[in-house]
Amino acid sequence: MLGRTANNIFWMFRYLERAENTARLLEAGHRIAMTRGGDAASEEWKSVISTLGFRKAYEAVYPDYSGAHVCDFVLRGKANPESVMAMFETARTNARLCRSAITGEVWEAVNEGWMGLRDLLARQVRESNLGTALAAIRRESALARGATHGSMIRDEVYSFARLGTFIERGDNTARILDMKYYVLLPSISYVGTALDTGQWEHVLRSLSGERAYRWLNAGRMDARSITKFVILDERFPRSLAFCFDQMRENLAALALLHGHEGQANALIREADQDLSQRSIDQIFDRGLHQFLIGFIAKNRQIADTISKEYRFID
């Protein structure tokens, strides 16, 4: 397949994944803001904007952190090139660009998703409709992923789609955790103490993991078991360990197809092994923030290596 097509597929799925995770983040933020109100609510919305890396762009438009402003900026802000609408539009443009590499079902899922969101986000979303809108974003992304899973043959195209999905997902999970870590644990001495359960629940909600976590941990809410779940639990599809695992598998499939391994295979094997040998105590001892920064950098290095090895650009 063409290197350019691989690039389009890869980014199409990165944007779909990011749009979905952004919707989740807003959902969780909205819930906390609702239960707290006042300054705490505005702090919450500020942390959503920070997690997404939008602070500078946001503050250039709005002086305050109100729910209505944050949601509008994140969902459809004209000054925001990475609004959910813009990301869906980019994903759809990419799908158009590599139309002959994807099935009709995938194209229709992305195209119809884009059409639906374009209508839904044509005007500012009222708070009473926020839940419906966010659910629609998650659903459209899930439909595209489902169509991919159910209709695409397991060849290169599929592997690049999956790599884009999990590289983006790992990155997003790490960022959500990192941001909450700062809010929750401003000093290392707080680790393991003075737990703000509401905030930790937010982390789990942002990752659609609150139910799975409760199920596995019988109601225990402590920083260590929650971070362990989000970082190391290979059963949880948004954990860092799960993402690395999927990346390793898909890179191995590519190596098999191409008849040789590249640098990306070595990198992910090493990173995956390193992660699986860590205990949550080690991660806390060396510093969770340092660990997450290290994860994000490694993840990006792997993405760059894939892009180079498979000739995404000339």
Binding site: L2, G3, R4, R96, R99, W107, E108, M115
Partner: protein, 484 residues
């Protein structure tokens, strides 16, 4: 209940030939079975079917891009549910005529770029191509692989009577619209499956396979057993991008852009995830000008530097061959009867529309004297732009055109305003006749000439209008050739 009877055929505008109904109101044989079926359908149900078709097109992304300055918009070409039907007998004669014309076109191209016998014999004036932008001196003395110039041709036909099919235009540059022919049929089969079990219609769906086979048969000698075919598109912003992606997908070929390609080791190669791989046949949907910045337009960012040298050295087949656009020229068109006669030794089976070459002083005088009755076209124009339709033009427009004609007579041809045949479309008020044309698609390879039964029927949706171009409010119909 819907009727094919005369009362419902509102808005008849004096057209001489309706393809569904004869003057006495009876249904013509081609439409007999269809009308039987239609009369049994409920009107409200048919209208709902119309909405169904639109949402189907919108969802599958069959759109026609209209890009303005700021806002990108994707527009649907309107689709009409009433098929345009041609009998097996009519089609046999048509396809003989088309084959003859395409054979002549290909021979003409070879001659123009070699010995130019037709000019030496005095049947074609040299000036017709000497100052023509579509003429490429770089092609002189070169024969493309398999001797094929016009790999894919679209012949635009109009009808004026039971046996009167005329050629209105030849499209040998990069004819488009074939994806609509295919999707229109898919849509009709999805909407009215019972029609197709009742009436035997010759299939068109194997066109992409025939195209892939025909292109592979034109591969250069350096190609292996299974030649690599790629479709070259100018990109996502091109109005026909959907068609480029569609054909690549259907043929199982890569859809490439100029930036994917590079000349390496005397071959044109595409950048794949496992390195550069040579292409044997390039079905290009870009104009000659944008093919090779080293040879043609130095400002082009779309082309592949050096591709023309590879082509001349036999390293790749370019379809259609560069320089074939000259046969689309309307001044050349005027000579097509002579061209067919010259290369086939036969009288043309399909006549031209009567054409006055304004470069000829006697013809110019006739044209100037009869402007209100004529259609005047620019020789290099296309898409229905830059033309004068005498009967519908204002006095001012006619006067302005008169000046243009006098200033540059060789830039124009004129034709009588034809009373094109009509075919009914489905409107709120029932069936109503509208003017149609037909573009059959023809494939040429050393293995022969292959014509897909039917083609693309374009229809002027506005009552009385003669302009069928999609850029100017035209729609399309599924075109049926009956099996017999």
């Amino acid at each position: 209940m819907l009727h094919c009877s005369k009362g419902i055929m509102s808005g008849s505008d004096g057209a001489k030939f309706d393809e569904m109904r004869a003057e006495d109101g009876s249904v013509r044989p081609a439409y007999a079975e269809y009308c039987d079926w239609l009369q049994a359908q409920e009107k409200g149900w048919m209208r709902r079917k119309g909405f169904e078709a639109e949402s189907f097109f919108r969802r599958t992304g069959i759109t026609f891009n209209v890009y303005g300055e700021n806002d990108a918009e994707e527009r649907l070409i309107p689709f009409d549910m009433v098929p345009r039907i041609i009998t097996g007998g009519e089609w046999r004669r048509l396809s003989r005529g088309i084959e003859q014309r395409v054979r002549a076109l290909n021979a003409f191209m070879h001659d123009l770029y070699h010995r130019q016998e037709i000019i030496r014999s005095g049947r074609l004036p040299e000036r017709l191509f000497r100052n023509n932008e579509a003429w490429l001196s770089q092609m002189v003395g070169f024969t493309p692989p398999g001797g094929v110039y016009t790999h894919i041709v679209g012949i635009d036909l109009v009808r004026t009577g039971p046996d009167e099919f005329l050629v209105l235009e030849d499209n040998a540059r990069t004819p488009s619209g074939v994806s609509y022919m295919l999707e229109n049929r898919e849509t009709m089969m999805a909407m009215f499956p019972e029609l197709f079990s009742k009436i035997q219609v010759r299939p068109v769906s194997n066109y992409p396979r025939r195209l892939a086979k025909s292109l592979a048969a034109c591969a250069p000698e350096c190609a292996g057993e299974n030649p690599t075919v790629a479709v070259l598109t100018p990109g996502i912003y091109n109005s026909a991008y959907f068609e480029h992606a569609f054909l690549a997908d259907q043929m199982g070929a890569e859809l490439v852009e100029g930036t994917d390609l590079r000349v390496i080791d005397g071959r044109v190669q595409m950048r794949t995830t496992s390195g550069f791989q040579p292409i044997d046949v390039l079905y290009r949907r870009v104009d000659d000008d944008f093919l090779d910045p080293l040879t043609f337009n130095p400002d082009s960012v779309l082309g592949i530097p050096g591709i023309f040298d590879v082509y001349r050295a036999g390293g790749i087949t370019i379809a259609n061959a560069p320089g074939t656009g000259i046969s689309d020229d309307k001044a050349i068109y005027a000579f097509m009867p002579e061209i067919v006669q010259f290369y086939t030794g036969e009288a043309p089976i399909l006549p031209n529309v009567e054409t006055w070459r304004c470069a000829d002083p006697d013809s110019l005088k006739h044209v100037l004297d009869n402007l209100p009755e004529l259609v005047v076209k620019e020789v290099h124009g296309s898409g229905g732009y830059g033309m004068l339709i005498g009967p519908t033009a204002s006095k001012k427009e006619i006067a302005a055109f008169r000046q243009k004609l006098k200033a540059k007579p060789h830039n124009y041809i004129a034709q009588p305003t034809l009373s094109l045949s009509t075919c009914p479309i489905f409107t709120k008020a029932g069936l109503a006749p509208r003017h149609v044309d037909l573009r059959p698609f023809v494939l040429v390879s050393p293995e022969g000439i292959d014509i897909t039964p039917g083609g693309l029927t374009r229809v002027a949706l506005k009552k009385g209008s003669l302009v069928v171009n999609s850029s100017q409010g035209g729609g399309t119909k599924d075109s049926w050739v009956l099996a017999d």
